[in-house]
Symmetry: C2
Subunit: 559 residues, 2 copies
C-alpha cells in the first residue's frame, strides 16, 4: 500500500470553493481562501445561520489506546465519507495537527491511508496560520508580563507566582525549564520560566471553547497570569493585553474548510491537548457544521475516559452542544494489549487476550451509555494482520454487551470500508435507546468532589489523594470563586488509572492529584495526575531528518 503522503499527493482535489458551494451551499463570497484547497469560512456568515435546524452530532471516541493509536481520526473521516456516499449531507470536524510531532516521532495528524483530509502537507505544516497566531498572542502576553515587571510593577505582581508560560509549536525539551531576564538591568528581572507546546496552552483551550470575537476577548481578559504578593489573582485584562491578543486571533477564529480524499467537507480547527486541556476541535467549527450538514462526525482525543469525558463535561457543558450518538473505536490489537500482550507480540492471533482485554472496552461503553447517556456503537477498525476469528470474537463479545459492532476497513478502502458502520450509526440515530444525556457531575459540586465523582464513576478508583500543595491550591480556588468550574483531569491515556502499565479495567486504585492549575479564561481547573508532558522532546532520529524538499518543490518524508 502507498504511504499517506503518496496517497494524498496522488489525490485529485476539488477547488474548495466548489466543495463549499456544492456540498454546503456556501457562496464563494463567504470564503476566505488560503490557496485553492483551504479556506476559512466567514464568521459573520456562520453566525447568520443560527436559525437553521441542527444536524446530528456524532462523537468519535475510543477504548484506551495502544501507543500507536487506534484510528479515531481515520474512522471519523471514513464514517463521514461513508455517510456522504449514502447520499447524505455529512461533515467531519477534526483537530488541527501540531508541527511538534510532525518533525518529531508521531508524524502528522490528517488521518491516514484512504481516510485522510487533504491537502495533507498543508494541514500538517503551517495550514492557515492558526497555531502561529496562537503562539504570537500567547507570547505577547508573556512579553507584556515581563515588561510590566520591568517598568515598575504597579500591579504588585509576585514574580515567583507568574505561571503564564511561553509557547512554540515545536518539540523542544531544552525549553521546558529556562531562566529568562538574564543579562542585567536592561533585560528585566531574572525569573524561572518555561515553554509549552502550543497545543498545551490555555489559549488553545480558550480558542476552542470560544463562541465569538467578543467572547474570545472576554475569556482572554479572564486569564489569570499569577498573583500579587497578597494573593490576589492578576488577569490579562489588568495588563491591557486582551485587546491586542484578540486582534492576533481575529482571523484564526474562523473555521478552516478542507475536504477528505472523497471530497466530503471537513472543518479542521483548533487542536488542544486531551490531557492538560479538553482535546476537542473548536466549538465555532462544530456549531457551524451542525448548521451546514445533516450529519457531523467529530473526534475527542485519547480514550473515552479522557477526550469524551471532557467533550461532555467541558465542551458540551460550556457550549450547549449535545451529541446524538457516539462511536467507540476499538481494535483487535488494543484489546489484546489490554489482555496483557506486549506491543511486539500484537501481530499474533490471541483470542484469549481479546477476551481478557474486553473489560477495558466494556467499561468505556458503560461510561458512554450509563454515565454520559449517549447511545453508541463500536467501530472495529481493522488492521491487515487481524484474523477473521479475532474479528468475529470481538463482534460476538461486544454484542453480548448489547452494543452493535461494525468492522470497518476505511484505512484501506476509504468510505466504502465504513458503509456498514454508517448504516449502523443511522439505525442508532433512528432508534433512540431512551438514554438521557448527562454530565458526570453538576456545576455546583465542589472541585474536590468533582474529581472524586469522575474517579469513582468513570475510572474505578477508590480514593482521590492530593499533594499538599495541590490541596492548598484547590481550597484557594474555591475561596477565590472558581469552585463552579468543571475540572480537566490530566493523566495517562493508556489506563483508567494514573499508572500507564495498569491495563484493562483496574479498580480500587488511587487517583493522586499532583498539581492544580487554573485555566480561568478557558473556564476549567486542571488537575494534573501523574506526569504530564506539556513540551515533548525529539527522539534520537527525529522525523525532521527524513523530511526533505526536492529542487522542484516536492515535499517528501511527511507521514
Amino acid at each position: 500500500m502507498l504511504s499517506d503522503i503518496e496517497i494524498a499527493d496522488a489525490a485529485e482535489l476539488r477547488p474548495v470553493v466548489d466543495v463549499a458551494k456544492e456540498a454546503l451551499g456556501i457562496d464563494p463570497a463567504h470564503l476566505v481562501p488560503y490557496g485553492h484547497h483551504k479556506a476559512k469560512v466567514d464568521l459573520g456568515y456562520l453566525q447568520s445561520l443560527d436559525d437553521r435546524p441542527l444536524g446530528k452530532l456524532i462523537l468519535m471516541t475510543a477504548m484506551s489506546p495502544t501507543p500507536a493509536g487506534e484510528g479515531k481520526t481515520t474512522t471519523t473521516v471514513g464514517l463521514a465519507d461513508a455517510l456522504s456516499a449514502l447520499g447524505l449531507s455529512s461533515m467531519a470536524c477534526l483537530r488541527e495537527p501540531s508541527m511538534g510531532p510532525v518533525f518529531g516521532m508521531k508524524g502528522g495528524a490528517a488521518g491516514g491511508g484512504y481516510a485522510q483530509v487533504v491537502p495533507m502537507t498543508d494541514i500538517n505544516l503551517h495550514f492557515t496560520g492558526d497555531f502561529a497566531a496562537l503562539a504570537a498572542a500567547n507570547n505577547l502576553l508573556a512579553a507584556l508580563i515581563d515588561n510590566h515587571l520591568q517598568h515598575g510593577n504597579t500591579l504588585g505582581i509576585d514574580v515567583r507566582s507568574v505561571d503564564w508560560k511561553r509557547v512554540l509549536d515545536l518539540n523542544d525539551r531544552a525549553l521546558r525549564d529556562v531562566v529568562v531576564g538574564l543579562g542585567g538591568t536592561p533585560n528585566g528581572y531574572p525569573r524561572e520560566d518555561g515553554f509549552d507546546i502550543v497545543v498545551a496552552s490555555e489559549l488553545m483551550a480558550i480558542f476552542c471553547l470560544t463562541e465569538s470575537w467578543a467572547d474570545l476577548k472576554r475569556r482572554i481578559g479572564d486569564i489569570v497570569i499569577g498573583y500579587t504578593r497578597d494573593k490576589t489573582p492578576v488577569t490579562a485584562r489588568e495588563l491591557d493585553a486582551h485587546g491586542a491578543m484578540a486582534v492576533l486571533l481575529r482571523d484564526a477564529l474562523a473555521p478552516n474548510l478542507v475536504q477528505t480524499l472523497e471530497h466530503t467537507p471537513a472543518f479542521v480547527h483548533g487542536g488542544p491537548f486531551a490531557n492538560i486541556a479538553h482535546g476537542c476541535s473548536s466549538v465555532v467549527a462544530t456549531r457551524a457544521a451542525l448548521r451546514l450538514a445533516d450529519y457531523v462526525v467529530t473526534e475527542a482525543g485519547f480514550g473515552a475516559d479522557l477526550g469524551a469525558e471532557k467533550f461532555v463535561d467541558i465542551k458540551c457543558r460550556k457550549s450547549g452542544l449535545r451529541p446524538d450518538a457516539a462511536v467507540v473505536v476499538a481494535t483487535v490489537r488494543a484489546l489484546k494489549f489490554h489482555g496483557g500482550v506486549e506491543v511486539p507480540d500484537l501481530a499474533s492471533e490471541d483470542l484469549g487476550a481479546i477476551e481478557r482485554g474486553m473489560e477495558n472496552l466494556a467499561r468505556h461503553l458503560r461510561n458512554v451509555r450509563e454515565v454520559y447517556g449517549i447511545p453508541c456503537v463500536v467501530a472495529l477498525n481493522r488492521f491487515p494482520g487481524d484474523t477473521d476469528a479475532e474479528v468475529a470474537r470481538v463482534v460476538e463479545l461486544v454484542e453480548a454487551l448489547g452494543v452493535r459492532t461494525y468492522p470497518a476497513t476505511h484505512f484501506a478502502d476509504g468510505g466504502a470500508g465504513a458503509t456498514d458502520l454508517a448504516n449502523g450509526v443511522l439505525k442508532l440515530l433512528e432508534n433512540a435507546e431512551g438514554l438521557k444525556f448527562s454530565f458526570t457531575y453538576p456545576d455546583e459540586l465542589p472541585l474536590k468532589e468533582k474529581a472524586e465523582t469522575i474517579a469513582h464513576r468513570l475510572y474505578g478508583a477508590s480514593i482521590v489523594t492530593w499533594d499538599n500543595k495541590a490541596k492548598r491550591r484547590i481550597e484557594r480556588l474555591e475561596k477565590d470563586g472558581y469552585g463552579g468550574l468543571p475540572v480537566c483531569i490530566a493523566k495517562t491515556q493508556y489506563s483508567f488509572s494514573t499508572d500507564a502499565t495498569l491495563r484493562g479495567a483496574p479498580t480500587g486504585h488511587d487517583l493522586h492529584v499532583r498539581e492544580v492549575r487554573l485555566s480561568a479564561g478557558a473556564g476549567f481547573v486542571v488537575l494534573v495526575c501523574g506526569d504530564v508532558m506539556t513540551m515533548p522532546g525529539l527522539p534520537v532520529t527525529p522525523a525532521a531528518a527524513r523530511i526533505d524538499l526536492l529542487d522542484d518543490g516536492t515535499i517528501v518524508g511527511l507521514s
Copy 2:
C-alpha cells in the same frame, strides 16, 4: 487628516486577482490567494519569465534619519503610484513589517497617509505567514542542536560555542539572555542562549538572498551553528536539519502580491534588519518584479551608508541585480537635525541649520554617485510644518551639488504628490550620467580591508579598530575559508560613525568592531560596531495597550 488605519480601512481595494491580471498580466492560475487581497505568486511561473527583458530598477534610500524616520516606504509607494498614474507599468518592492514594533512603539510598516500598501492590518499582522514560517524553521534548528547534544553529541559540538539563537516575532527583552536545558537529565544540558527577533535572524537574510528552493536548501545547509571542540565549524547540514527547514519555508519563498491605495501592484516580501543583516526585501521578489513591470521601486533600510551599501555590496553582488537609478529621501527636519537642532525644536524654521545639516546629505549623495556609481535624484519628503523658504533652500543647496531635487507630498496627496519626482526619475533614467555601477570593494580583499575600505570611502573614518576577540575571530574566518565573503556592518543608523550623537558628516573617527559573526548561509560576515539590538524591548506603554478588537471584528489602534 485621518489616521493610517482609517485611510486604509476606507480604501476600496480591488481583488488581487484583478490587479495581477490587469497590471501584470498574471493569470489567476499562477496565484495562491490568501484571502481576496493578498496572494503569493507561484515560483515556478515566475521562473518561467526569465527570458523577458528587465524593467528599470530604482533604489529608494535616504540621508541619515532622525529617530522618526524620513519616509522611504511612503516615498517608494508614492513614486510607484506616480509612475502608474503616468500610464507606466510600475511596481513597488517592500519589506514585510515585523510584529514586534507593531505592538511596541514604532507601529506598522506599510507606508502611511495616502501612500500605503493595503490591506494594512493584514500586512502588519500575520500577513501570509512568512515570518511564522521563518521562526518555525529557525527554532527547529535550535531544537535539533539541543537534541543532538542530548542524544550523545556524536558531532562533538562544543556546547559553549553554539551561537544559533532562537527567535520570535515579538519585542521581548526578557528573552535576550536566557539559560535553557534546566530541570535535570530529561531536559538536556543547561547552556546560555538567547532569542532574537525574527528580522534579525540569519535565516531571514538567507530567505531574502535566495534564488530558488534548491538554493534555499543549500544556503540553510551552509549555516554554521557553532564549533567542535577542535574548532571545526558545524553546519545545519551535518545535523540533517536543512531539508526539513527548507520544507517549512517552501511556500513562504513565493513573493506576496498586494496593492497600494491607488492599486499599483506591490511585492511585500522578506524583511531583514538593516544592521545585523542587509535590510532589503527579497531577491526573488525584486527579480520577479523586473520581469513583470517596466519600473520597479525598491527600498533599502536606514540611510545610504547602511541599507544602500548592503543593497550594492550584498544584494546586488550576490544576485547580479543592478539598480538603474537611486532616489535619496531627504527631509527638512532631518537636515535641521544634522545641523544641530534637537528633536523637540525641529518644528521651527531654521535655514542655518539646514545649511549646516546639508553636509550629511551631501556625503550620502557623493557615496551613491561616486562610490556605488548610481545616478540619483533627491526626493524632499514634505511634512506639514516645512516652510516654503526651507523647501526652497534645500532645493537650491542640493542642486548646487549637481543633483536634481523634487519636493513631494505623497503622504498627503498620494501618487499625485510625487508626479514631479516621477518625471525627474524618468528623465534621469533617459540621460544616463555616465556613471558606472561599482561595489565598494572587490570580493578578494581580505575581510579586515573590506571593513577599512567601507570606513574610509563611505563613513569618513580614519581607522578601524578591533576588540581582541573580534580580531581573533576574523583571522580565524580568513583561515576557515570565509575571507571571500562581503562584510555586513552593524552600526547605528543615526550617524556615519558608530556614535549616534555624531551628526552631520563626521571625519577622523574610529570604526570600532566589537564583535564578528559569521552568516555562512546568508553569505556574509557581520561586523558589530557599537551596540546592536537584535531583540527590542517594549516601552512603558506599548502600542498593544491601545490595539483592540471590537465585537464586530473591527481592529482599532494599529498605526
